[in-house]
């Protein structure tokens, strides 16, 4: 398949099941809501070493938040419910509770499966915390030095998908990055997904396994342009740079849609902007059960 001179490889991206939740951080103004959200989602690019993958889903205006203040919606994913609960609690405690004027709410209802949000943070109140049941949901009011930190007690957990991806193969580093930026700009308009890596783009895509026993992932040498003559390369001579966009989403359909929008944005730039191919992280079925076939998605 070729779109606007860009070859879409007959391959698929492999993704794996994760547990995810959506949180809403509000503050006195959008600036401080964003500061808190950025702190919360910091160092959350990959479960390989961060324990979770998190990112900002979208900005929310006053009409979209529970307390009528500006806010930010974030998504956080981990490999299991327990891991997710631990990450949510520690990040909430260190990055939202501490952030001036902030409040923290669940953005995802699932009464069948919930994890603690403010349930344990309340103990920071040292006995002065106050519980409030509003519309069947419990909230905690924790006295802090700037006033009161309001947080919902629990948040719902959703069976999610992590690791959806595609690779952008370009004639130069600058062209690969420009294409990825164009894709990210369009993908960020979609709900229920995040691109957890810096700016949404990964330059160090990995393969499963390593020659070093301590590592379970290592550089994707088949797509490293400097190794074209040194390994079994997937790259043609004119490809000088490869970048990857990784997507985590609440459902497989959300990732399908995000990949289609992202790849289309890149194909719109086309071969004339140095984009040669779109490929994907295919690990021969070793990584996960969710397969995103590029040509089916773009058909």
């Amino acid at each position: 398949m070729i779109i606007n001179g860009v070859t879409i490889d007959a391959t698929f991206a492999e993704a794996f099941p994760m547990k995810g939740t959506r949180l809403i951080i509000t503050a006195m103004n959008a600036k401080w809501a964003m500061i808190s959200a950025q702190a919360f989602t910091g160092f959350a690019t990959s479960v390989i070493a961060c324990g979770c993958e998190a990112g900002i889903e979208k900005l929310l205006d006053e009409s979209e938040t529970p307390d009528g203040r500006p806010g930010v919606s974030i998504l956080i994913f981990a490999m299991g419910g327990k891991g997710l609960a631990k990450q949510v609690e520690t990040r909430s405690g260190q990055c939202v509770l501490t952030s001036p004027t902030s409040a923290l709410f669940s953005g995802l209802d699932n009464p069948d499966k919930e994890i603690a949000l403010g349930q344990n943070l309340r103990y920071f109140g040292d006995g002065f915390q106050i519980s409030k049941m509003i519309d069947g949901k419990r909230y905690w009011r924790i006295p802090v030095m700037d006033g009161e930190f309001l947080t919902q007690e629990k948040t719902g957990v959703h069976d999610s998908v992590g690791g959806g991806n595609f690779l952008v193969l370009a004639e130069s580093q600058a062209q690969a990055l420009a294409a990825c930026e164009a894709a990210i700009e369009e993908m960020r308009k979609l709900p229920n997904i995040i691109m957890p890596f810096p700016g949404g783009v990964v330059r160090s895509g990995s393969k499963v396994g390593s020659k070093f026993k301590a590592l379970n992932a290592s550089t994707n040498d088949a797509f490293c342009p400097t190794l074209k003559g040194q390994t079994k390369s997937e790259l043609s001579p004119e490809v000088e740079s490869v970048m990857e966009i990784v997507i985590d989403g609440l459902t497989k359909e959300d990732i399908d849609k995000a990949m289609r929008v992202g790849i289309q944005a890149i194909c719109d730039l086309g071969a004339e902007n140095g984009i040669r191919r779109i490929s994907a992280g295919n690990y021969g079925g070793k990584l996960g059960p969710f397969h995103f076939h590029l040509q089916e998605i773009m058909a």
């Binding site: 509000t26 529970p66 307390d67 009528g68 203040r69 409040a103 002065f128 106050i130 519980s131 409030k132 049941m133 509003i134 519309d135 909230y139 009011r141 006033g147 009161e148 309001l150």
Partner: protein, 271 residues
């Protein structure tokens, strides 16, 4: 199907225990069976059809008409459906209510919503003493649900209240929120003396400072902007109440007490 209507034949001489006439207990019962149910009035058990004219067949929508303040225990242990009472009603309306709705066009007697667990009670009139309270000798009052009173409540509203909300559009009597353990009482009008006497936790939300001032056993914590109030006012919007139309505010003067006890209760007054 039409509403199942119990029209009181004559004003009763004795109090009548109506606890057997709830949607959950009458579901799937034939009119003849309902007519044969025996209710206690005074020291006698009498058939329902000797007290009420019965019409209709929808037990999920029960109506008491020509009601009297001698009808006690209406909606006791009710779990679903709706009861509408035209006129006044007696004591213990909605005792142990677990779900559904009760609406009264008149006034209610003592112990309305006593130990209520969930559901909603709306009183389009005044309510007697101990709204949302606990039975004598018991320590937990209502533990959930919403009570709306469009008129006034008598003394000891929310006594021993444990959870839930009591929304009073008029005035509350003396000892409002006394011995309150938790939950929320909001009052659009005035409140009587000894507000929050023995209050442990919970919130009393007032739109005006009580005419006799804040009790001495509460300390002033200063003016604050409390975010939870925005959520609470949002939750009022769907109610058929003056509270749904009340302009949301988050700026309040916060008082904590009763300092004679653990002092974790709060009175919030709009500023």
């Amino acid at each position: 199907m039409s509403s199942l209507i119990f029209a009181l034949k004559t004003p009763p001489a004795q109090r009548i225990d109506c606890s057997l006439l709830t949607p959950n207990l009458l579901a799937d019962k034939k009119i003849t069976d309902i007519a044969a149910i025996e209710l206690y009035t005074g020291n006698k058990a009498v058939r329902v059809d000797s007290l009420f004219d019965i019409t209709g067949d929808d037990a999920a929508d029960i109506k008491f008409t020509n009601s009297s303040d001698k009808l006690d225990f209406v909606g006791r242990n009710m779990t679903t459906g709706k009861i509408t009472i035209t006129g006044n009603v007696g004591a213990y309306l909605g005792l142990f209510l677990e779900g559904g709705q009760i609406e009264v066009t008149g006034n209610t007697g003592i112990y309305t919503a006593c130990e209520m667990k969930s559901g909603q009670i709306k009183i389009n009139g005044n309510a007697g003493e101990f709204v949302g309270g606990a039975r004598p000798g018991y320590k937990n009052g209502m533990t959930g649900g919403i009570v709306i009173v469009t008129g006034n409540t008598a003394d000891r509203t929310g006594d021993h209240m444990r959870r839930g909300m009591i929304l009073i559009e008029g005035n509350a009597g003396d000892y409002c929120a006394a011995r309150m353990v938790s939950g929320t009482i909001a009052v659009l009008g005035n409140v009587g003396e000894h507000l929050g006497f023995g209050m442990k936790r919970g919130t009393v939300l007032l739109t005006q400072t009580p005419t006799q001032g804040i009790p001495a056993n509460f300390n002033d914590n200063g003016p604050h902007t409390l975010a939870f109030l925005a959520l609470m006012f949002n939750s009022f919007r769907k109610l058929d109440s003056q509270f749904a139309k009340t302009e949301s505010f988050t700026r309040v003067q916060r008082y904590s007490g009763d300092l004679g006890g653990i002092g974790m209760g709060e009175i919030l007054v709009k500023i």
